[in-house]
């Protein structure tokens, strides 16, 4: 089967994820760790991130609605989110987390709320883009992926 057109789409999509700042070099680190013994490593780690991050977004939203606000707890939750995101190279989200933490430090509630909305948007966008990317990768199958990853 000729996968060349599919691979062109995959490479183009990955390049765009990097060029648009959604992903950074850490994502390449994950791909380098994927091998025959862990053929779905990247997708598994990304799935872990989205599982963690969905829970954290809910917790952050709940923490923001409490009164009085506990900025220490908010900072702690955003810190976890930032760390989790940076593990997969989610650059835009990592940057927005840094902004959020700065707002927590300033006890700027409105700033925190704006950051949360941005984080939710970035989260949804990245999830959709990566789901599409992985769907393409699944079409080529693990054996073809392994051969092409060494090119």
């Amino acid at each position: 089967m000729d996968y060349s057109n599919l691979w062109r789409q995959i490479f183009s999509m990955k390049k765009s994820l990097f060029d648009q700042g959604y992903l950074d070099e850490q994502y390449n680190q994950l791909e380098e760790l994927q091998d025959d013994s862990s053929p779905n490593f990247v997708e598994e780690v990304v799935a872990l991130f989205f599982k963690d991050s969905s829970r954290l977004l809910t917790n952050i939203e709940q923490a923001l609605e409490k009164y009085p606000q506990d900025f220490y707890r908010l900072d702690s939750l955003v810190h976890q989110f930032k760390g989790s995101g940076s593990s997969i190279g989610a650059l835009r989200m990592k940057n927005e987390c840094s902004m959020f933490k700065a707002h927590c430090n300033d006890r700027n509630l409105e700033g925190c709320r704006r950051s949360l909305q941005k984080m939710k948007r970035e989260h949804a966008t990245l999830k959709q883009k990566l789901e599409t990317y992985f769907q393409l990768l699944r079409q080529v199958g693990p054996r073809e992926r392994a051969v092409n990853s060494r090119k």
Partner: protein, 137 residues
């Protein structure tokens, strides 16, 4: 065999204690340490468990060749775990990890007795630097 794998095959297995509460970071660290080769990995999900493992592993004999510890964890954080491990007389290299690399965080780790600090996320390059620094490569 690659250069890294050959080097790993030559040296004896090194025992690493990873202290980390977040699963995603444990998964990444496990994969990096497996790729480095020649590593026997123990894990603790918080600082208190880490101190217990070090104590039970024979604190004086030095059960571990390297301890990698996160900062923010439930029950006991990385700073306190480092202090308590040092209080046991353990001289094993301890490297603090955190998503923030503020000077205050780094200083707090070093003051607690850590030997080094590396910002998360852990990567092949950061791990190789740590292993080389403590002659574990």
């Amino acid at each position: 065999m690659t250069g890294a794998a050959a080097a790993a095959a030559e040296r004896r297995a090194i025992r690493v204690l990873l202290v980390e509460d977040e699963e995603i970071h444990r998964v990444l660290a496990r994969a990096l340490l497996r790729a480095a080769g020649g590593v026997v990995l123990d894990e603790a999900e918080n600082g208190a468990e880490a101190v217990r493992r070090v104590r039970e592993g024979g604190a004086g004999a030095g059960a571990y060749d390297l301890i990698l510890t996160d900062r923010q964890m439930p029950v006991m954080d990385g700073h306190e775990a480092t202090r308590q491990i040092r209080a046991l007389g353990v001289t094993t290299p301890i490297v603090g990890l955190s998503s923030d690399s503020l000077a205050a965080d780094v200083d707090a780790f070093i003051k607690a007795g850590a030997d080094d600090f590396t910002p998360k996320p852990l990567s092949k390059e950061k791990l190789n630097r740590i292993l080389a620094k403590f002659n574990l490569a």
